[in-house]
Amino acid sequence: MTFDGVDAPWWPYLFILLGGAVATDIWRWIGVLAGSRLSQDSLLLVWVRTTATGLVAGVIGQLLLFPSGALAAAPIGVRIAAAAIGWTAFRLARNSIVAGVLVGEAVLLGGWRLLS
């Protein structure tokens, strides 16, 4: 039942559909069913929003501290500093998303180069 385990041209696509697409979309469908009962200003919606934010934030933290692939080659201190300084630049530039991302990338590239 591995990706290469069944010798048929359609198998990898069925694998992706079941292991990837359905496994992902099922939570979107559950979200639609749950969200239809939420009103714009309910306390429950506040909890839903903080929990959604917390879950994405966990992914952000993992991608920064335990990245896979090429980013893992950058020193961990540089990754953290780049995110923190980029975020600060975003706030200083009156919530400019572009400024924050550009400064963050610049710190990452500069720091990576200096420390390796």
């Binding site: 990706f3 290469d4 992706i16 496994a23 959604a52 917390g54 966990g58 993992q62 692939g69």
Partner: protein
């Protein structure tokens, strides 16, 4: 802003506005992130058609990266599905928070189920930032235009980056991978309306790696629940103080 004019925009006009998100900063950053995904698929031994199929049918970059990693490691279908589905749980509360933004009088449950496929971090953040200020009738065409365009464009980006990436230089690949977390962090701060959401954001960024480090089973889910509960508790306290 010319709110008078925007109130007069037809459904097609709002659909086109949604399409234009592709050329905005969030759209460009998302496409840059998908350059990294095409390269990752190629390194992992997938075919071009399989890589394109993944982006078109899943449309959630963190889950896609997990799928490719698990496939490359030779995992079985149930193991891959479990890893992907655990990473995708966040989509349920995201979609639940997105549904009230849509025009529910005119949007059927069936259509919401179809459109929910296009909810991922970028389209969710843009929806939270912009749709509250749009007339109710604008929201469905705007979201559909944005979601369909982002998905189609990034499916193409996956194909092109797969075909062109002879091997990205290490530093360039690292810089592309860094775009996703730094953009998520900044845009989610921008999209947060409540102090409670910013508290949950900070708490989640700390708890995610801690739960991961101690290899807690379902760590990402627990860390999100803990961070969300902290933010919610802060909301109740702030409300009482106010």
């Amino acid at each position: 802003m010319s709110s008078d004019r925007s109130a007069e925009l037809s459904a097609r006009g709002w659909f086109l506005r949604g399409m234009r998100v592709l050329g905005s900063i969030p759209g460009l950053i998302l496409m840059s992130s998908f350059i990294g995904f095409g390269a990752l698929c190629r390194e992992s031994g997938l075919t071009l058609a399989q890589s394109v199929f993944i982006t078109a049918t899943m449309w959630a970059l963190p889950g896609q990266v997990i799928l490719v990693g698990a496939v490359a490691a030779g995992a079985t279908l149930p193991a891959v599905a479990l890893a992907v589905t655990l990473s995708s749980i966040r989509l349920a509360p995201m979609v639940a928070a997105w549904v009230p933004l849509m025009d529910r009088e005119r949007t059927s449950r069936w259509l919401l189920l179809v459109l929910s496929h296009f909810v991922a971090v970028t389209s969710w953040v843009v929806a939270l930032l912009r749709m509250p200020y749009m007339p109710a009738a604008a929201r469905l065409p705007f979201f559909a235009g944005m979601g369909i365009t982002l998905t189609v464009a990034n499916t193409i980006v996956t194909a092109v980056s797969y075909s062109l990436s002879a091997q990205l230089p290490l530093v360039l690949a690292g810089a592309l991978f860094f775009l996703t977390p730094v953009y998520f962090l900044i845009s989610m701060t921008a999209a947060s309306k409540l102090a409670a959401e910013r508290i949950a954001l900070l708490a989640g960024m700390l708890s995610g790696p801690v739960f991961h480090y101690y290899q807690v089973p379902l760590g990402l889910v627990w860390s999100g629940l803990v961070a969300g509960a902290l933010g919610f508790a802060a909301h109740l306290l702030l409300r009482r103080a106010a």
